[in-house]
Structures are given as structure tokens and as C-alpha cells.
């Protein structure tokens, strides 16, 4: 399985390659897009301006193309907004053509309308986890889209991934491995993300009754968990054995905009976990060795692939 890591700035590419990324993914948002649309109808799912999450110029993409030729870790470019306006499809096509001329041929897309618009282009498309839920029936539609890779979303159980891989539809399958385990499903998240306001899942709330009651419902206090370990915001390392057995080919480390040092730590931990996986004779042995090596002080419990409750 290969590690694919988020890249926020062109300067970070060498460091992330050195840390163990097999490939990277980035966003490309040129000034003309920002001038017309800002992040009101964003180009991808990093819907902010004031964070280093996008490559913002064709000049920087040209620099990146040179780095890729030198260090040989391919970069996929993400255009994974949930939808676009009709007027934006030709703009996106022109941007992809510019990138294609530089040597970028793989694009991550979530909007099926965009995929259909671009279906005659000779690019390789990855179907984003932000597109939809997947099951054995929807994989037949995925096949018709001609994508090379299907990226499963964050909340997809491994058994569901296995069923989809058996159904077929793509040559490669990617699963989330580290960071940003959202409370809600990305493909069904319609709320505002921007610099100035938190996403709605971070707006204050409390548990209450539907009807009028004297006191709110009783809940447990959340368990204390380690919050400075690898994967503190989302982790699938324990599930690597099952992910490999299922047929996952690529593992996503989320982090466009994270500091390069934090991404380096995550990549090195993921590399260590893959090394332990390769040396382990059984799943139990793998988990034991993984915990001893990376989580001796406890883990965050923010599991991407929790066991089903009965």
C-alpha cells in the first residue's frame, strides 16, 4: 500500500518526500478563480483563503512539476468541491489543460457532473470520498465514469470497502489513514467552511429533549484520551492489516495546510506502521507491535474504523 499525503505549499514537497510519501495531492487555485468566486463556490474542499492550503499560481505548479521529475513522487491535483456552477466547468477544463501540459494528469473529482463534462479528456480521474457513499450497486455507476481510483470516505466500514472492491469499478482504491476524522460525512456536509466562521460541526450545542423537561438528558463525561499522539484527530493505523487484506492500494494522510513538521511526523509514523505490518505474522501481532512502537502512552481513540457495536 502506498502513502499519499496532502501538500499545502510547493516548498514542502521535498520534505514530505523525504519523510516517506509515495505520492502527494494538492489543490490549485489561481488568482483569477479567487477574484471571481473567492471561496463562495470553491474549487476544492479546503474552503479557506488565509491558510497555506493551495498552490496559488501556475508558476508554482511548474516548479512543482520540476520537483516531481527530480524526486519522482507523483502529485495529484484535487478539484473535489461537491458541485460547481455551469459557468465554472469550462474554467476547470482550461485549468486542467494547463496542468496537463506541465505533466499533471491525475485529478481528484467529487462532482459527477464535472466527471461527465470531462469524460473525453485523456486524464486519469480519482473519485473523491466527498462524492458519495459507495456500495455494490453504485460501483456499477463508478465503472461507467471510467475512474482509475476510488477514494472511500472517512466513515466507510472496511467490510463495505471489501464489498465495493469485489464489485469492481476502479483499478486502485484509497482509504483514509490519518487526521481530521469529521463528526459528519464529507459528501453530506453542506455547511459553511470559511476563514472567519467555524464549520457548523464546531458550533456549540448540547444534548436536550424534544419535549419540555425539567432537566437535560444524562450523558457520560467523555473519556480522557491522548491528544498529542499521532492521529489525535483521526487514525486508522490499527486497521492496516484489514485494509491490506481488503485490497486497498493507497492510504490517505490528510493535511493540506498542516505544518510540514506535523506531516513529517505523520508520514514517519505511517511508514513505521507499514514496516511493522510487513514484519507481522498475524493481525494480533501487528496490533501489539504497533501499540508498543507508536502508542505506548495511549492513543487518541479517534478511530476511523471502529468496531461495530452489537
Amino acid at each position: 500500500m502506498k502513502l499519499t499525503a496532502g501538500l499545502g505549499s510547493v516548498q514542502d514537497y521535498p520534505q514530505l518526500c523525504e519523510a516517506g510519501a509515495d505520492e502527494l495531492f494538492c489543490g490549485y487555485v489561481p488568482p483569477e478563480w479567487i477574484a471571481r468566486y473567492g471561496v463562495t463556490v470553491p474549487e476544492n474542499r479546503r474552503e479557506v483563503l488565509a491558510y497555506p492550503v493551495q498552490i496559488g499560481s501556475l508558476g508554482d505548479m511548474e516548479i512543482l512539476a520540476g520537483m516531481v521529475r527530480r524526486l519522482r513522487r507523483p502529485v495529484r491535483v484535487t478539484f473535489n468541491a461537491l458541485y460547481y456552477l455551469p459557468e465554472q466547468y469550462p474554467l476547470l477544463a482550461r485549468q486542467m489543460a494547463d496542468l496537463d501540459r506541465l505533466g499533471f494528469h491525475d485529478f481528484i473529482v467529487a462532482d459527477p457532473a464535472l466527471l461527465l463534462y470531462l469524460r473525453k479528456k485523456p486524464y486519469r480521474f480519482h473519485l473523491s470520498g466527498e462524492c458519495a457513499d459507495y456500495n455494490r450497486y453504485s460501483m456499477s455507476l463508478v465503472q461507467t465514469l471510467g475512474v482509475t481510483r476510488c477514494i472511500f470516505h472517512r466513515k466507510m466500514p472496511i467490510a463495505d470497502m471489501a464489498a465495493c472492491i469485489r464489485a469492481g469499478g476502479a483499478a486502485e482504491y484509497e482509504a483514509f489513514l490519518l487526521n481530521e476524522r469529521c463528526h459528519y460525512t464529507g459528501a453530506f456536509c453542506s455547511s459553511l467552511h470559511c476563514d472567519a466562521l467555524p464549520p457548523f460541526c464546531r458550533v456549540p450545542y448540547r444534548l436536550g429533549f424534544l419535549s419540555e423537561h425539567a432537566a437535560p438528558p444524562q450523558t457520560r463525561a467523555p473519556s480522557a484520551r491522548a491528544d498529542d499522539c499521532v492521529g489525535s484527530s483521526g487514525c486508522g493505523l490499527c486497521a492496516l492489516w484489514q485494509l491490506r487484506a481488503t485490497g486497498i492500494t493507497h492510504l490517505k494522510i490528510v493535511g493540506r495546510g498542516n505544518s510540514p513538521d506535523a506531516m513529517t511526523r505523520d508520514l514517519r509514523a505511517a511508514r513505521r506502521a507499514l514496516s511493522i505490518l510487513a514484519d507481522s505474522p498475524s493481525e494480533a501481532a501487528f496490533r501489539t507491535a504497533l501499540r508498543a512502537s507508536l502508542f505506548s502512552g495511549g492513543c487518541s481513540g479517534a478511530c476511523y474504523y471502529p468496531l461495530e457495536e452489537t
Binding site: G38, P86, T219
Partner: protein, 435 residues
């Protein structure tokens, strides 16, 4: 001494030389350092400044600048320019100070205080959350001033829980609607006084809220006897539910064949759209989870409302592709700001709109662990949503019910002109859900 800064995010500050964008290494009041793979493109230098808070992008073209030196780096060249232009200096200074202010706010202030400082968001109101959802609704709907115009749209009512579906077997729909209207303080609203011609069963959000394959024919039979058309809402389709979904659709198809009838199915999963190709008496309509749009009670806020109005459903090619799946009707929502309606005949769900939906149950997670993020897949549902909800600040008009956060557009219940515009554009059905 001139003010300089490096690595200002490209979203805030871009640079073009002629028609081509180039990266900025550093920028100062009296200069700029650009990078390029090799030679810089030709053309005049322009800065593109995007201001936070939804202000329009500004361009700044310095009148006097010259290249001082070129530095060869491992992967690019850096071109160091001196700039002598008071307007440029002022723009750069504003950008640097504004970005610095943003960073300081994010480092030292809460998210609510940042929002207040950057947009005027009423952060102090976030502390006001009513003791129950019933109390919230009473407050929200007490401000509604019912329409006077008699809209000719078909009226549909959603029976979106097992309890309501069971009630339907025992009572006329009109009685259920009267009770729901009374419970919500909307008895005088014409939307709930006009006779419903259609009923929605099932759920667009959660598999555990669907009728069983045994119950569904009973519901369909009752609806037919009462002269009601039917739409069956199905949610997204995880693998564990595939067999049950197929059984449910097969039951619906058998009933339709026996009764020489057709029903609609609200499709919120592409797998369901595929399944429906095998059931010719079930008419797919594009569901709310597949009609993509920004929906948030804080909109338009810092965003451009005119850009928010459209979405991919306005693209004729996409609509043509949906027609190959048999889909021509879209289940739209009213998200609190005006939106465009694609050509054709479509439904409008009100007053609630979906914002976030989770594959797993946030309510169960909160009740069992105190942590909404500690969600687990579960086949056996304890139905916490029949008694509990996640309550949000009153001023936001939002609620976390089932596995979904909903917003409530109260304005549409009062402002006839808003609804009139939707009807003029092709909405011919109003679907009422009272959570």
C-alpha cells in the same frame, strides 16, 4: 524600515506577470521576491489581493519596479524586485497587517470571538440555547406571519418516523397534520390548512427510520384508499442495508404491479438509482442528499449571495445524464437565501433543510460516551432520536435530529414573495416536514 512578510497564503495574495500567475516568496512595502522554475513570464506585474470578510478582490499594479538580482535555489529561481510606488506600499502594508491580525486572532481568541471580530457574528448569542427543542420551535414559529396567497402547488406531508407511519394506519393524514401544526404553533398557517395530496414515507437520512417490507404495503394501501399519492424516501445505502433496501423496493414494486399504480422513490444514493432500473413502477426523484448546495443558517454572511444561488443542477448536460436514470424531478430545499430552480417541475421541502449528515449516529455517541465524535456503526438502534436532539444556539434556528443537523428557514413561512419566486421558476410541490 519597510514592512516585509514571507509566505502569505496564496488565497490572500496572488501575483501575475502578464497573463500568468507566479508564486510570491516574500513581499514588502518596497519590494517583492517572486519565484519561477526558470525565466519569469513577460508582462506587467500585478498583485491580486483578496480581503477577508467577503470584500471584493483588489488589484494593484505598481508603476515603478525593477529587478535587483536573481538567486538560484535548488528547485527554482528567485527574482528580487524593488518597488517604488506609494499605492503599492499602502496595499502591501494593509495585507501584511490584516494577515497578522488574522493570525493573532486565531492563536489567541476562541472561534466565536474570531467570528465576531472578523464578521460581526453575534458570538454572545451562542450561549443562549433553549431547554428543549419544543421550546425552541415555539419561539421560532411564534414569529411566523402566515401567507395570504393561495398557492396552487401540490401539498405533501412527510411522515418521516416509524411512529408517524404507524399513526397513519390508524388516523387520517389530515388529523396527523392538524396535531403536528398545533404542536408547532402553526395551526393558522395555510400550508397546513390546505389538504395534502401526497404523503412521503421513509427517511432521506437514516436506515433505521424506514418502514419494513411488511409494513410498507399497508402504508401504500392506506394512502391509496385515502386518495394520496406516495413518495418513498430512502437514505444513503451502506452495504449492510443493501439487501433490506432491495427487499423494500421489491415490496413496493409488487404492490404497484398488483394495484396498477406507481409511486415515487426519493433517491439519496447512486446505488438506489441503479436498483430502481429493475423496478419500472418506481419513479426516481433526485433526493436532498444528491442536490448539492451550501446550506447554513449563517449564510450568506461573508459570502456572495448571487453566487450561492446556482449549483450543478443548472447544467443542462448533467440534467440530461440524470434523465438517463429516469430522474427529472429534484427534491429541493429552501436554505434561508434565494436559490435558482432548474428548468422542469420540482419539489420544495420546507421549512427544514439538511446541513450535515453522518453515517453513524451522533446522538447515540453523545448519550453513550459524551463525545459526539465517538460514533460507531450499529445495526440495532435504540431510537434516541425519538426523545432527544442536539440543541444549537436559538438564534441559529438549527437542530441535530436523527443523524443530521437541520436548519430551519422560518422566513419562507412568512414571506409570500419568497415562495412565489420558487413557484414561478417551476416548483409545483411543497413538502412539509415538521421535525
Amino acid at each position: 524600515m519597510a514592512l516585509w512578510a514571507s509566505d502569505i497564503p496564496a488565497g490572500l495574495l496572488g501575483c501575475t506577470l502578464g497573463a500568468q500567475s507566479v508564486g510570491i516568496c516574500k513581499i514588502g512595502e518596497d519590494g517583492i521576491v517572486l519565484r519561477a522554475a526558470s525565466a519569469l513570464p513577460g508582462g506587467a506585474l500585478q498583485l491580486h489581493v483578496c480581503r477577508l470578510g467577503g470584500k471584493p478582490t483588489e488589484t494593484c499594479a505598481p508603476s515603478r519596479y525593477h529587478l535587483r538580482e536573481v538567486l538560484q535555489k535548488p528547485d527554482w529561481r528567485e527574482y528580487v524586485f524593488s518597488v517604488s510606488d506609494p499605492a503599492y506600499a499602502l496595499t502591501v502594508r494593509q495585507v501584511i497587517l490584516e494577515y497578522n491580525r488574522f493570525v493573532q486572532l486565531k492563536l489567541h481568541k476562541s472561534e466565536a470571538d474570531c467570528a465576531a471580530a472578523l464578521t460581526g457574528y453575534p458570538a454572545q448569542l451562542d450561549a443562549v440555547i433553549a431547554p428543549s427543542f419544543a421550546t425552541q420551535k415555539r419561539t421560532w414559529f411564534s414569529a411566523v406571519r402566515p401567507w395570504h396567497t393561495d398557492f396552487t402547488c401540490e401539498i405533501a406531508f412527510a411522515l418521516d418516523t416509524p411512529a408517524l407511519a404507524s399513526q397513519f394506519l390508524r388516523q387520517p393524514l389530515a388529523a396527523i397534520i392538524r396535531q403536528a401544526a398545533s404542536d408547532n404553533g402553526l395551526s393558522n398557517h395555510p400550508l397546513l390548512q390546505k389538504a395534502a395530496a401526497r404523503v412521503y414515507f421513509g427517511s432521506a437520512w437514516c436506515q433505521h427510520l424506514l418502514p419494513s417490507p411488511d409494513l410498507l404495503p399497508q402504508l401504500l394501501g392506506k394512502a391509496k384508499a385515502d386518495g394520496l399519492a406516495v413518495t418513498l424516501s430512502l437514505p444513503f445505502l451502506p452495504e449492510w442495508f443493501c439487501a433490506q433496501a432491495r427487499a423494500l423496493l421489491a415490496a413496493a414494486e409488487r404492490w404497484c404491479v398488483a394495484q396498477n399504480a406507481r409511486i415515487e422513490v426519493e433517491v439519496n444514493d447512486w446505488g438506489v438509482a441503479v436498483l430502481l432500473q429493475s423496478f419500472p413502477h418506481l419513479q426516481p426523484v433526485l433526493g436532498r442528499l444528491l442536490c448539492k448546495r451550501r446550506k447554513d443558517p449563517r449564510l450568506p454572511g461573508p459570502m456572495d449571495a448571487t453566487l450561492l444561488a446556482g449549483n450543478d443542477l443548472m447544467h443542462s448536460g448533467w440534467r440530461a445524464a440524470l434523465r438517463t436514470l429516469g430522474v427529472t424531478r429534484f427534491e429541493l430545499e429552501t436554505p434561508g437565501y434565494p436559490t435558482s430552480v432548474p428548468p422542469g417541475r420540482h419539489s420544495l421541502h420546507l421549512p427544514y433543510y439538511q446541513m450535515n449528515t453522518s453515517h453513524y449516529c451522533p446522538l447515540t455517541a453523545v448519550l453513550s460516551t459524551g463525545d459526539r465524535g465517538a460514533q460507531h456503526p450499529t445495526r440495532h438502534c435504540g431510537a434516541p432520536c425519538s426523545t432527544c436532539a442536539l440543541l444549537y444556539p436559538d438564534h441559529l434556528h438549527a437542530v441535530g435530529k436523527y443523524n443530521t443537523i437541520f436548519g430551519c428557514d422560518c422566513a419562507i413561512l412568512s414571506e409570500e414573495a419568497l415562495l412565489g419566486r420558487y413557484c414561478e421558476q417551476g416548483v409545483d410541490r411543497l413538502v412539509v416536514t415538521l421535525l
